[in-house]
Amino acid sequence: MFLTAIASASANPIIIGSKKFTESYVLGEIAERTLNDAGIPAAHRQGMGGTIILWQALRGGQIDVYPEYIGTVTQEILKTNRQLPLNEVGDALAKFGVGITKPLGFNNTYALVMRRSEAKRLGLRTISDLRKHPALKIGLTHEFLDRQDGWRPLRERYGLPQQNVIGIDHALGYAALVNGSIDVKDAYSTDAKIAQNDLITLEDDLGFFPKYEAVFLFRLSMPPDAIAALRRLEATLDEKQMIRLNAEAERTKNYTRAASLYFEDGAGSTNTMGESFPQKLARWTLRHLQLAGFSLLLSVLVGIPLGILASRGGPIGQGILGFASIVQTIPSLALLALLVPLPFFGISLRTAIAALFLYGLLPIVRNTASGLQDIPRSLRESAMALGLSPMTRLWQIYLPMASRSILSGIKTSAVINIGTATLAALIGAGGLGEPILSGLNLNDHVTILEGAIPAALLALLVQWLFDLLDRVLIPKGLRI
């Protein structure tokens, strides 16, 4: 079942990716709809990550299309500070087997935003004005903090004195701005939240930010009819309309419907609402179980033999336990990010499963090793003195005697995996992390709980199932 899930996900349909913010979701939905309307099967993987993840996924062929901004292409992908004409950008991308559409019609540039009341009180209008207020607290997205056209060069260009700068998630940053935890944050100029929260955009009076005209990047190997369909979106979406679509998406949390506003032929009716909640929940849960289950299976198959080796001690045993412990200390997010650029992995289920597998390893290896080491010497020697072969001793005597410890290690791994699998949504692998991630992006607690509660229940259920399994798998003589 699991293998067919991978196969069908990477087979025929055009896969559209999007970054993890509202506008990208909406553009992804528009592309999906456009292709589907042209009779080309397409599927949209929402909110897979930031620029680098999407770009790698496009190059690696895990996705075929994603919405991007010209400024980001030149700065982050082509790594140049010059404003290139579009045809040069196209030539440069073609070397990677990637094509680019003409601009869709609106310019979503970076901007710094503040509370209107605060700006008025301090008399702030432009970014240059910030120089006079070094005590302002600035909260920036992690991407903006690191970008070539982000915070560091901006600060240099304007000579900004602020020291109090923190990194914060985009949607959470708005909440922080509104409640006064921060005073200034980065935003996209078409963010619906700017108007909704009564914020103002500080004028880029030195003209620092490049143009961020929206385009689609696509694989040149995509079928010509798909490219043609995508190109029909060029120059059809102005800023005002994009803000409206973004506002609609944030208001209804329904990207499909927001995208349908774009299609003028009155297709905004409720029949494009998409899946019902139970259907979505079933899909998330099933995927979640696939992620956690398959990775757990791998952890067991690899972890028990490693645990057996580790139980013998010596440099090899120390090395195995050391390796598993080190893996455990890498933050799960960082582990995902480390795996994504590797050739075999990329943005895929494989990556999520590999990361979960590595996390699940330590409890199983450690418990197998300690379970075996805890067998009294007199019993080990009795098994040897009988004349049983080493393999038989292991299978019939040592492993059954260590079964309680091994099973409890597997149980720990299973529960960890159920929890960690929510992070798989970050790289588009789905599961119950999907609503959690969308909820975080939209700062919407209900959506977060739609993922978080089932994930917690699932963990409890798994714990309970393993307690039952103990009674079946642990030999009776060890339970009396």
Binding site: P376, S378, L379, E381, S382, A383, M384, A385, L386, G387, L388, S389, T392, Q396, I397, P400, M401, S403, P475, K476, G477, L478, I480
Partner: protein, 247 residues
Amino acid sequence: MSALVKIADVSKRYAGAQALHPTNLSIERGKTTLLIGPSGCGKSTLLRLIIGLIAPDSGTIAFNNSTITPANIDSLRRRIGYVIQEGGLFPHLTARANVLLMARYLGKSQEEIQSRLVELCELTRFSDTLLSRYPVELSGGQRQRVSLMRALMLSPELLLLDEPLGALDPLVRASLQKDLKEIFARLQQTVLFVTHDLAEAIYFGDEIVLMNEGRIVQKGSIADLREKPAGPFVSEFINAQRGIVLT
């Protein structure tokens, strides 16, 4: 009659301490040889060397005229029964499964296994209704009877007993001593029996081997030890337990 086990110049060091100085010893067929001495005298080490749980630093051990090597140890072990103080029963297996473990492993026929099991229950006075119990559900004495059955299952040429009755209370111990002696006689079993209890050694021993500080001090009958002690340690050891010996 030739010796079943021939130990020649065997020595063993543990973490720098000489557990066994170069030692020679022959175990005669059909006899019960008692290895006795204070704790740490090397008697258990000698037993563990014979069953191959540890390898000698020097010298050779021959079983039935073939030298024990890592290559032949598993097949030799199947011709030797081994019982330890704690019984060494596997807690996840029933009494029956413990007893039959090796026979099943070697693929013996079901009838052969069953008839041998009945025989052993009768021999060791172990009620066959207890066979489906797990070790934790048995008393200490019952566990040692099961352990003995397991050791005898393949009709071994040699039986090694390492303080098999050391953890039992006196009444159980006395009844097992009696049963064991009968069993050894009935089977004409070659036995090497380690104990630190002189009374037990006298009760069983055709041949008593007294050890101290990694060396064999004297070998012979109890009368030899008592009347012709090889040194002051022999008299000292016997006198220390005289109260029991005289009864």
